[in-house]
């Protein structure tokens, strides 16, 4: 069976992440990939999709229901087993670490499913990294805004130039073993309290 003949179902409420995984699987030659962004449709759709492999994110609160459904579902023809091989502890660990769970029709060749799972793990991790970087960028931007605000207060209240204001914040942070942004935050809070 060529790669393209396997039917793969991705259940993930996160649209961005599921599209990243879908793209990866399509690039790898899998044409029969279906994405469901809501668990509501699963029961209705699974019969027509007849998946060989189901990939679900671990954070899905509906996982117990879906797992029970897959276990009972006649659509999957055979009992489903989780992951490639129950003894493949390292693969299972890597998947769970990444936040992926998978259900596989029993009897499929191990190497064929492993490549799908590996791809899902890779893309889940890539998504997490992206999310982390976005969060960091957002935090950095907010930090800079706080520091700018603190510098403006020092300029208004004490007539300090921008470099002097920054140096004062930096020195205070060093002396107190705190981050500059924390000093800036304290200063903004204090200024707020002292406002008439």
């Amino acid at each position: 069976m060529p790669a393209s003949e396997l039917s793969i179902l991705i259940i993930d409420e996160n649209r961005l992440r599921s599209s990243i995984i879908e793209a990866g699987l399509r690039e790898a030659g899998h044409d029969r990939v279906t994405v469901l962004n809501s668990t509501q449709e699963v029961a209705r759709r699974v019969v027509e999709i007849a998946p060989d492999v189901v990939v679900i994110d671990l954070e899905n609160p509906d996982r117990d229901r879906l797992e029970h459904f897959f276990t009972l579902s006649k659509a999957l023809q055979k009992p489903v087993a989780m992951f490639v091989d129950k003894s493949d502890a390292a693969a299972i660990g890597a998947a769970i670490e990444a936040g992926v769970s998978a259900y596989v029709v029993d009897g499929l060749r191990k190497d064929r499913i492993k490549s799908i799972l590996d791809m899902a793990i890779l893309r889940f991790n890539a998504y997490s990294r992206l999310q982390r970087e976005l969060d960091e960028a957002r935090t950095a931007l907010e930090d800079r805004k706080l520091i700018d605000r603190a510098k403006a207060i020092l300029w208004e209240q004490r007539g300090l130039s921008e470099p002097d204001a920054y140096n004062l914040l930096r020195k205070t942070a060093m002396n107190q073993n705190r981050r500059i942004v924390d000093i800036a935050q304290s200063l903004i809070t204090a200024a707020g309290l002292l406002e008439p």
């Binding site: 671990l58 954070e59 899905n60 609160p61 509906d62 996982r63 117990d64 229901r65 797992e67 029970h68 459904f69 489903v80 087993a81 989780m82 992951f83 129950k86 502890a89 299972i92 660990g93 769970i96 670490e97 769970s101 259900y103």
Partner: protein, 384 residues
């Protein structure tokens, strides 16, 4: 003494209380444990993360470790249950619409399972629609209690009603929108359904099966073998927490701690209902069920082999596993009173003299006794 870090998973339910209090009230620290608690979203995640070693221990459904040891779980690893995390805690809630129909056929309003079951049976006999109930997991006390109650009330699960699996946080909404007619779940999700005006609590676990377990502490056999002292210290911490939680004077504080953002993230008054046994059955109607949830009294943390065997008898009854002497032995040996006794000994508390007991006519609401020595005959007699 260096602290041992123990990572434990839990689902946001009332009976995660002992784990939360063990951490927040210093019982774990006093035993030299840094107890890290991780809130999870599904029992499947709890099972998988214990299996791969992310969690050393976890809040588990009573039948879950038995299912794992019997090879019923997708990832089956040997799991021990060396402690029960309290008795009772569940209830059966039906939609206000179904409750009205039960009233119409003469329901008395009693929360005793017998009359409630009779009224439900009368509704089913006259109705044309098929009622749909929800439970949290196939291998759960909720599933087995609901089925036991239905069957003893003359209602055949699977034939007369549907039983679906649904995560607890979705149950109240499902009841309100009519996609289910009732559910069996732990607190606070019965009270949540009542407070939303969606349902009425019609009976409680404490009346269905007196002094019965629901959640257990599950630990992987691998971890238990590697850290026997750590496990004993964890059991002592949880036991200390159970003593504290068993004192009604501490209920308000316990509910406030449990309601915190890292745990159930809910107002403490809704948690206090199950904890104190002062239930609101339906908006405006209250009832006092003193033994609704017992964190300490009546050997509430003792892992009876009898309880494991009763759950096993229900797994056989509902075709999850065939009855063989080997399976029965595996089930019974999943609960580990020996580990519990050794760990708890320093408290000097009176413990049960045997690991098994006969459940008499007063234990199950229908009066059927359960003698673990008579397992084969019990399994033979029960209807499927």
């Amino acid at each position: 003494m260096s602290e041992l870090r123990i990572t434990a998973g839990f689902l946001p339910l009332l009976d995660s209380l002992l784990m939360v209090v063990a951490r927040e009230k210093g019982f774990a620290a006093a035993q030299g444990i840094d107890l890290a608690l991780v809130r999870e979203t599904s029992w499947a995640n709890i099972r998988d993360r214990v299996a791969v070693g992310h969690f050393d221990a976890a809040h588990m459904l009573g039948p879950m470790p038995i299912a794992s040891n019997l090879g019923l779980a997708p990832i089956s690893t040997p799991i021990l249950a060396p402690m029960t995390l309290g008795l009772g805690g569940n209830a059966i809630t039906v939609s206000t619409g179904l409750w009205q129909r039960m009233l119409d056929v003469g329901a008395s309003g009693s929360i005793d399972p017998g009359p409630a079951g009779a009224a439900l049976r009368a509704v089913i006999a006259t109705g044309t629609d098929r009622l749909r109930f929800a439970v949290t997991h196939p291998y759960s006390g909720h599933n087995y209690e609901l089925r036991y109650w239905l069957a003893a009330s003359g209602i055949a699960p699977d034939r007369d009603v549907d039983i679906a699996i649904l995560p607890p946080p979705l149950m109240a909404d499902a009841l309100a929108t009519g996609s289910i007619d009732g559910y069996c779940v732990g607190e606070p999700y019965n009270s949540v359904g009542v407070a939303a005006g969606a349902g009425r609590i019609i009976t409680v676990k404490a009346r269905l099966w007196a002094n019965s377990p629901d959640k257990v502490l599950g630990v992987s056999a691998r971890w238990a073998a590697q850290y026997p002292e750590g496990l004993a210290a964890l059991l002592r911490a949880l036991y200390g927490a159970s003593v504290w939680c068993g004192d009604p004077a501490n209920h308000a504080e316990a509910a406030a701690i449990l309601g915190g953002p890292a745990y159930l993230d809910r107002p403490s008054d809704i948690l206090l209902r199950g904890l104190s046994g002062r239930l609101e059955l339906i908006l405006g109607e209250t009832a006092r069920v003193a033994d609704y949830f017992q964190p300490h009294e009546n050997s509430a943390t003792f892992p009876w082999a009898t309880h494991a065997l009763w759950y096993y008898s229900q797994m056989v009854r509902w075709s999850a596993v065939p009855h063989t002497p080997q399976n029965a032995q595996l089930a019974a040996s999943t609960y580990r009173p020996d580990i519990y006794r050794a760990a708890i000994a320093p408290f000097g508390a009176a413990l049960p003299t045997s690991d098994r007991k006969v459940l008499g006519p007063g234990d199950f609401f229908d009066g059927t006794p359960f003698d673990p020595a008579d397992l084969d005959a019990y399994i033979q007699r029960q209807s499927g």
